[in-house]
Symmetry: C2
Subunit: 338 residues, 2 copies
DNA sequence: CTGAAAGCGCTAACAG
DNA sequence: CTGTTAGCGCTTTCAG
């Protein structure tokens, strides 16, 4: 025989009770240092490992958190995954991966996993709650959920995010300061808050500088490479094309730059481009991309920290935690030609 | 009162036994379609969700798999994460994220999670097993583990990978066919098998073409951007610098290209560069990177498929599954200057 | 400080 | 086809 040892095996081997073993193994103060040592020793010798399912059932916790994003394939999330994972593991939690692909069915599934006991809490980065009509997926108000990156208005959950309006405004101000007047903006999928915020920042900066936003200067994209190229193409089909473009994310910015190159336009010689996000390799690009840096590592860490606090019975911050985003001026912006 | 409903609540509400409810909910054939319907209905009405911890304890499975990589922050893994997740979820498994950072402690921890019952199986992409000396972490030979991406010799576990030697050889042959003779290779951390294999492919191609590998033509890197730049710099400090470089991964290739640009050398005009991996945005770079494409989506899918097979009692393939890698010729390679 | 006993919620024999 | 029963391995009262 060679089954997995259980607590009882250690107990009988040592002539103590299972309860004592359990206590010793979980560092309870209710056990002599000496017995604890003995127990630990034989546990080690027997190569004992606690059965997590049993423990989870008994304690009604899973010691896991769920991290839900729209697309795990998007490099944008990397740093966040990483810092969430690091913070979680440091607190003894494991991390389950959630990927919705913007599919409402899946969004619901992950909320269900929370109720199932698959995970004790969740970091939600999809900017959406399951549809509110179906009473089924109504969430307890104090559910251990932290919204990160995106905003879900009136959700009542803690938020960790950047100020997209202000950051966008700063980006556009940079272009204005360089002397640009005809500045366009390639938006994200714009009914969504984050995209709307970035556009709002663009508009505010333009307005503040007394610049107008001509018809067609706000083409829509979907945050993917190709849509950046397409929007850029549309922009240069205009009678008066822009001399600078503020693009709602880096990926579309790369698409736009690619398109500009294909049209024989130099960046930043002919056209300046500013992105948003500061992806992993944005600096390694040629020319290195001028972009708004999101403090993704901090976002992940803070979100997880708040979640841990909630999970340990603490109080989450009432107000959204707003982290600073900073413009990184690199090689894709320059004064306009003349 | 408003506790979470359990199976017993449904049972009493309907005047049936818990067993019947359990069966109905798990689609057992041992229950009338009609009772099943009734049970499902009230389960729905009561907003019932099974408690996974209880189920896991009882069934001795967690319906989760562990996906372990060296660095979740590396964009290289994205497609794999994604396809593993998709394949797993389709089979009803959730995915736990493992990140070792090459730390032996952590490598062990994830193996322990397998024994703990945190997960039923594991996809290991670190190229390492926990040190074999400590008998503690000896693995049962038939453990539900699939090695992907990297090779662990004599481990006895199923592998899903590409032929790094052949792929590298093809990359170098492309350079040779363009007319290059002085071809260098920036390696990965070379005691490791994957890096050694890529170097081996380089050497074989050179030898087959009757070309020699001069002293200093194989500088070492560590797969990171900066090391590519450094290695490149070393290469061009040589008396006879190369006209082409085969770099062991894309990230270092970007570093190398950056360095070449800084030294005033045009790519591909003065120097050709070939990478390896075909990262997310390698095509969007300027110039678009010529590189070896790894079928990462397939690697993830196949690895997970094999794992699922093992988990359902099936037989894993004896021989390594070798997927085709293909050279993508793009804009960083051209004939040598004269 | 330690032991005895109960039970978390579910599923799987085994009987009917 | 359905019900009864037992128990997965652990933690945690409650007694001592």
């Amino acid at each position: 025989m060679n089954r997995r040892p259980k607590i009882k095996d250690i107990a009988t081997a040592l002539g103590v009770s299972p309860a004592t073993v359990s206590r010793a193994l979980s560092d309870s103060a209710l056990v002599t240092a000496e017995t604890r040592a003995r127990i630990r020793e034989t546990a080690e010798a027997l190569n004992y490992r606690p059965n997590v399912s049993a423990r989870n059932l008994r304690t009604a916790r899973s010691m896991a958190v769920l991290m839900v994003v729209r697309d795990v394939g998007n490099p944008f999330y990397l740093d966040i995954l990483k810092s969430v994972e690091a913070t979680a593991r440091a607190a003894g939690y494991s991390v389950l991966m959630g990927n919705t692909e913007n599919d409402p069915e899946r969004e619901i599934e992950y909320f269900d996993m929370l109720r199932d006991g698959h995970a004790d809490g969740m970091i939600l980065m999809t900017g959406k709650l399951p549809q509110e009509d179906g009473a089924h997926h109504k969430l307890p108000p104090g559910a251990p959920i932290v919204i990160a990156l995106e905003t879900i208005e009136d959700s009542g959950f803690p938020h960790v995010q950047i100020d997209n309006v202000a950051a966008s405004q700063a980006a556009v101000e940079h272009l204005i300061a360089l002397g640009h007047r005809r500045i366009a903006h390639i938006t994200g999928p714009v009914p969504e808050i984050m995209s709307a915020d970035r556009r709002e920042g663009y508009r505010q900066a333009m307005r503040a500088a007394g610049l107008c936003v001509p018809e067609g200067y706000e083409p829509h994209g979907n945050y993917l490479l190709h849509s950046g190229a397409a929007a850029c193409k549309a922009l240069f089909a205009l009678a008066e094309p822009p001399t600078a473009i503020f693009v709602a994310n880096d990926e579309m910015a790369f698409g736009a730059i690619h398109q500009l190159r294909n049209m024989g336009r130099d960046v930043p010689g002919d056209v300046s481009v500013v992105g948003f996000d500061d992806l992993y390799l944005s600096e390694a690009f040629y020319p290195p991309l001028t972009t708004v840096h999101q403090p993704r590592i901090d976002i992940g860490r803070q979100a997880m920290t708040i979640l841990l606090k909630i999970l340990s019975g603490g109080q989450a911050p009432e107000a959204p935690v707003v982290l600073p985003a900073t413009l990184r001026v690199r090689g894709t912006t320059a004064p306009p030609k003349s």
